[in-house]
Each structure stands twice: as structure tokens, then as C-alpha cells.
Symmetry: C2
Subunit: 417 residues, 2 copies
């Protein structure tokens, strides 16, 4: 899109994201089998139904006496019910007796209810007279202090849905059902292509004019945290044929391709041209109303999203959170637990006045500080080319498109890194 002066027009964050998502059809990743011990944060690739009841028998939830509840009706401190003790339910074993009318049995938490029992009286409400008899001082309702067979999970019930991100308690539930392996989606591979004649590997000494590759490390961490598998393709000079070739190669086995660098006019145009030349629909937007991150290029090539990221470290982080992460989440196959994995937000008071231009979303990095009971956010000022602005910051405050700034003392939401 160009405006009336022929300049590339930038679009809003929402619009840009919508463009990309609209041009992607959902393809679920292939799946792999994993032991449940290694499945936390992974996404289930099929619905999980219970093969059996959990528990498989009625269990006591307290320490006490298993009873036929009707034997206890009307019992009180003044007029207790006297019951004969048949024995004790041993943990982990089937009781070797049945409770007839007027008979009870000692039972511990988790013990299996004997045949004939339908409730448990807590030990606090019973008084043992001798080995063979106990006074029950309180009536028990049918089912009281009992977990019924299948009360936790019924045989055949849908326990976890396809697309659910597994949490510790979910693996516990699967273990309880005897399911020790699950099918989960493979992590979507995200290729990172670093470009720039001035960029050298992190383990090399710097000559005048050169800088080390910072962004592929930041991106590797961000991609892993978001559930993707980062694949570094290497560092490439600003040459059309070289970058085009590595983009084509990366597309063969990647769910997403990220090209970093190329934020100067010439190379930015080159990245856009390559995205358009390699396949369709190609570039979908070129520039967004966000700061830092304005020069972001977004496109799709044969159903694979491709982003051209500006080279500034702070822009990388902001663009990732706003554009790349939501697209990457889609590619992981997650459709459940939408509340998990949200960005952690705290409210704080702004420690300084901050101005912002209307017409762009300003992402201000801030450091948090506790002053008494209050949290205060101090803006980390500095060019978006500085990696330290991100290192010193605890999070980001977003100043929306139409807001002209934030005043000192104003309450803001801080999205924590």
C-alpha cells in the first residue's frame, strides 16, 4: 500500500496480524509419542478418553469407621449407636469381609469400602469401647466421606481435549488412568536467517565496522518460550541471490521463517522483494504503526508465514510479542487453555512523564521498583538499537495509538518479560 505521496503506508498492529492470519489455512503439525513425564507444556494431538473408572472402587476420604449409614441414623453424644467391629480395612487390599447390619470396620483415608458399607464416620465422632465394639456419636449420610467408583473420572469420559497444553496436574490425571504415553504435536520449526554485511558470529573478534549477531540469540529464546523450535540458518551478506536461496531452503522444512536485519532502505526493499519473488501471496504488509518495530514486513509464502524483522534489538522483542508469537501459537496446534501462557501483567505507577505521538503504538521499556506497597515503573530511555534497554527493563508499557503520553503517577499496566 502506498499513500498519495507514493510512500509506503503503515498499518495498525491489529490489521497487520489479521492480514497474516487470514492468509494462513490451519494445518496441524504432525505428532510424536512422548512419555508423560516429558510432556508438560506440550500440546495434545488427540482427545483423551478414560479407559477405566478412577478410582475403580469406593474409597474413604477420612480415617474412621466404614458403616452402613442406616445403622447410624439418630446417633448422638447422648445416644450413640453401638456397632460391632468386623476388623480393619488394610490399605491397598480388598477387605476380607462384608458389613452386615450393625457391623462396622476400621478404615484409613484412601481405604476401599467393604461390601455393605456406604459411608464413613470420622474417627473424631467414634469412641472405641474394646477390640470388638465402637460407639458412633454422629449419624452419617449415605455417601458421606466417600469417593465413589468413577467419581473422579468415569470410564469413557473425555478427560483432555486435542489442542490442550499439558500442565503438571494433567500428567497426574493421565498417570492415575494408567496412561503413561501421549501423542503431542511436534514443535513448529522456526528458521532464523540473520542478514547484514556487518554481522559476525558471537564467538568472533570484532573488526572496525562489525558487530556480533545479537538478534538470533534473543529470537532463539523467544521462540523456545513460545513453544517453537528455533533453527539458526546462519549469517548472510546483503545479497539478493544468497538470501533468496536460504529463504527457499528454509521454507522446505520450516513452519515459519524470520529474516532479521535489513532495516536500511536498500536491504529492506530487498527483503520484501525476496518474499514476493519466492512465492505467493508474498508480502502482506510493509511497516506497522508501532514503535519500536515500524519497519516490520509480514508475508505468507505457500501457507508459511515469513517475517522481515528490523535489526534493532528492542524492535525484535516488540515485534515478536505482538506479531510473531500469536502466529506461532496458531502453528503449535494449541486451541485449549487459552488463559495459560498469557503475558504476565502487573499494574504500576509511572515514575516519569512520557510523551508519545498519536498514530503509533509506543512500547516503552520500564524497570520496576517497589516503593513501600506500591510498584513504580521507570522508563528506560535509549535508542531501540541498544540491547541494554531490554536487559535493564522488567517489562513494557504500551501507549495506545491515540494516546499522547502518560503522566507521572498515572497507573499503567506493565507486561513483564
Amino acid at each position: 500500500m502506498r499513500d498519495m505521496l507514493g510512500r509506503e503506508e503503515v498499518i495498525t498492529v491489529e490489521k497487520a496480524l489479521e492480514f497474516v492470519l487470514k492468509n494462513l489455512s490451519v494445518v496441524f503439525p504432525s505428532d510424536i509419542k512422548l512419555n508423560i513425564e516429558h510432556s508438560c507444556t506440550r500440546i495434545l494431538s488427540c482427545d483423551m478418553y478414560s479407559p477405566e473408572n478412577l478410582p475403580q472402587f469406593a474409597r474413604s476420604t477420612v480415617d474412621g469407621f466404614a458403616v452402613n449409614s442406616s445403622d447410624t441414623f439418630g446417633a448422638s453424644d447422648g445416644l450413640p449407636a453401638y456397632l460391632n467391629i468386623a476388623g480393619e480395612v488394610l490399605m491397598g487390599a480388598m477387605p476380607g469381609f462384608e458389613l452386615k447390619k450393625g457391623i462396622t470396620a476400621k478404615i484409613a483415608t484412601g481405604g476401599m469400602l467393604p461390601e455393605g458399607a456406604d459411608a464413613v464416620v470420622m474417627i473424631e465422632h467414634a469412641q472405641t469401647i474394646d477390640e470388638e465394639m465402637v460407639e458412633i456419636m454422629k449419624p452419617a449420610a449415605p455417601g458421606e466421606n466417600v469417593i465413589q467408583a468413577g467419581e473422579d473420572i468415569k470410564k469413557g469420559a473425555l478427560v483432555l481435549k486435542r489442542g490442550h497444553m499439558l500442565r503438571p496436574q494433567d500428567t497426574g490425571a493421565l498417570a492415575g488412568l494408567g496412561i503413561t504415553e501421549v501423542y503431542v504435536y511436534e514443535k513448529p520449526k522456526v528458521s532464523i536467517i540473520s542478514t547484514g554485511d556487518e554481522i559476525i558470529p558471537a564467538d568472533k573478534a570484532v573488526n572496525p565496522g562489525q558487530v556480533r549477531d545479537i538478534n538470533s540469540f534473543n529470537l532463539t529464546g523467544l521462540i523456545s518460550e513460545a513453544g517453537g523450535e528455533p533453527v539458526k540458518r546462519g549469517i548472510f551478506g546483503d545479497e539478493y541471490s544468497v538470501i533468496k536461496k536460504i529463504v527457499e531452503e528454509s521454507l522446505k522444512d520450516s513452519a515459519m521463517v524470520l529474516i532479521t536485519g535489513g532495516s536500511s532502505v536498500g536491504t529492506k526493499d530487498m527483503t520484501a522483494k525476496i518474499i514476493n519473488d519466492v512465492g505467493s501471496p508474498g508480502v502482506l504488509f510493509h511497516g506497522v504503526s508501532i514503535k519500536p518495530g515500524k519497519p516490520l514486513i509480514g508475508g505468507v509464502i505457500s501457507n508459511t508465514p515469513v517475517f522481515g524483522l528490523p535489526g534493532h534489538p528492542a524492535a525484535i522483542t516488540v515485534c515478536f510479542e505482538e506479531f510473531i508469537k500469536p502466529v506461532l501459537k496458531k502453528l503449535t496446534g494449541i486451541t485449549e487453555n487459552r488463559f495459560r501462557g498469557r503475558k504476565l501483567i502487573v499494574t504500576a505507577k509511572m515514575a516519569k512523564n512520557i510523551s508519545s505521538s498519536s498514530g503509533r503504538e509506543d512500547h516503552i521499556r520500564v524497570a520496576l521498583e517497589e516503593r513501600g506497597d506500591e510498584l513504580w515503573a521507570t522508563p528506560i530511555l535509549g535508542k531501540s538499537g541498544l540491547i541494554t534497554t531490554l536487559v535493564k527493563a522488567d517489562g513494557i508499557v504500551v501507549i495506545p495509538l491515540r494516546k499522547l503520553g502518560v503522566e507521572q503517577g498515572e497507573v499503567v499496566e506493565v507486561r513483564l518479560f
Copy 2:
């Protein structure tokens, strides 16, 4: 502690945690060397100082013309400054020329400023006349559009402190300085001892009276998420000598020991006795005013925290979040980024009235639901022995000690799982 009736007295959550932390002296874990690519979420074991300036030379932050700023003073659209073009700064290379008065050079974002230049005029404010001359329409202040040598990080500066949990951007900063390996603390080993005559491994078929081990799976996930290394010691019958022996063995190489099960009166007393018999100070509290989780036992043996956890799945999760995680965090060596790793909290309206007893902290599991723009929290009712109450829940609402419940429509904070 026993009350006047000889009953074990329960203490508050804060008091219980304070007891344990007071009885632990800080011992930092040993450290290991890791490649920065695998260091995210790990804790730095030493302060990191910069070995060099970042960047090592002044760089342009825009595409434009490198100038001696004094050559541009007073320049305007009507009265531009005319400068001779010495050439173009190539990316990644030292400029092959020096800028004398009245001389300029083309430069791209990230390019190295030539000797004699102290500012860059953006391409938008320059008009090239021919290969050799350009009109500058706007004055540049000294340092404008330039990142100075060492402006991001100065040689010798403290970049990251010992105890800092590494984030993606931190690994980027280290890469930028040529630091590709870091020393981080080893993860504290947390032994999980499952006890109970009725407990069988997750991959075994269930006989009447038996249940599979759910809790060690839930705990494995929780420990990993909190930065510890879970070590399953196995499932053991309720026998004093057997459990005592595995506790002693576990203490040899663990930073923390968790004993699950043993929530019935007899076995609870056994767990407490073992903690007291194995070493001092032994049991520090026995019962807390929290639901679920009341039977929790906390102790320290020779500076290693030992917890006896009730067997109910929901109690495991609540006790972990409230007691074990804060202690485990201490053991990881983390002292920085206190804001990262906080529990994610959302506010929601309670969908139903919930009552609570005064004198205990009630932890209500809730499912979240979006109704229009609002988030509503529906309590998942059910015994704390049911694993599904955790599986169906998105988070937990805490009703404090002295509050008698929450009314329908009341705004609550939900701590997400």
C-alpha cells in the same frame, strides 16, 4: 505445638513458611558452564562484567549522510548546506576516508561513522544533486542519529548480576559482547518419595484397593516449572524403617526432600517421627490453616528442607505453590528478576456464592469463562482427593483467613495454573 486439649495446633501459612526459611542458612548451589543458547531460565552464578565496549565504534541509527554537525548548522529548506560526497560507508568495514570540513559520506543504518563525522542527517532531509554533491535541509546536533562507542555497554560495566535469571534478551546482550558461555547454578535436586501400601506405579494394572501414583507426576511438573530437578525415589510401603532409609539416602544428594502420602493419622505421625529421628531441627510445623493442604508437615534436617505432603492431589498443588515453591526458589540461587516468574493473576467475577470458614485460608479451584468483555470464575466443587478438580480448573481463588466467603458477582483475583 499442641493446644490445651492436646491436639496438634495448626499455624498460619505465613508463619509456617517463616519457620522453614528461618531454619535454613543460604548455601549457593555449585555451578556449571553452559552455552548461552541453553541458558534461558537458568540462574547466573557470578557477576558478568563487559570485556569490551558495545558497540566498539560510533554507528549510525538511520540511513543518511554522515556529517560534521557544524557543517549543517543553520541549514534549512530555503537555505540548504551544500556538502561534497567523499563516498559511501560500506557495511561491516572501516570507512576508507576521513571527513574534512564540508565533506560528507553516505551511510546506512548500522554503518561505522568515518573519522571527522559526529552526526548523521536522515536521507529524508537530504537531496542528492549528483554523485559528488548533496543538499542538507536540516541541521544535525552533535551526536544526532548516532550510537556512540560503548553507549550500549561500556567496557568493565556490570551487565548482569549473580543470581539473575537469564532471559532471551540477556543472552542477546552476552552474544553481543562475545560471551558465548556462562556459569549458572545447578538446579537443586528435589527427591520425591511416594508412600502408601495402596499406591502402585502408573504403568501397572489396578487391583481392588489399589490406586496408581498420581502425585509424583504432578510434583515432577511443578518442580521442573519452578526451576528444580525432580528425582523420583520410588513408591514405598507405610513402614517406618523403609521410609526412614530412603529419606536418609535422599538427603545425601538432594537440596529438598518431599514425602507424599501418609495423610492418615497413623502414617502422618510416622512421617513426622521419621523427620524428627533422622536429624535436627526436625519437624518445624505440623498442620497449617489452609484448605486443601491442612495436614502438611514441614521440617529441616541439617539445612535440607523436608516436607510431608498430604496425599490428595489438590492439596499437593496448593501446598506446592504456597510452601514448597518459595523455599525451592531460595535454593535455586535466584536473587534478581523478582518480578519474573510471579504467578499469573487475572481478575474475574465469581459466578457463585462460596462460603468459607474463618480461621483457614480456602483455596478454591475455578474454571474461567468469558462472558462478553468480562471474565467469570466458576468454582469447581469436589473433594480435594479428585485430580479432575485440578484438570478442569484454570486457576485458584484464595479466600483469606478471616473472610467468610465470596458472593456471586464479587471481583476476585484468580492465580492461573
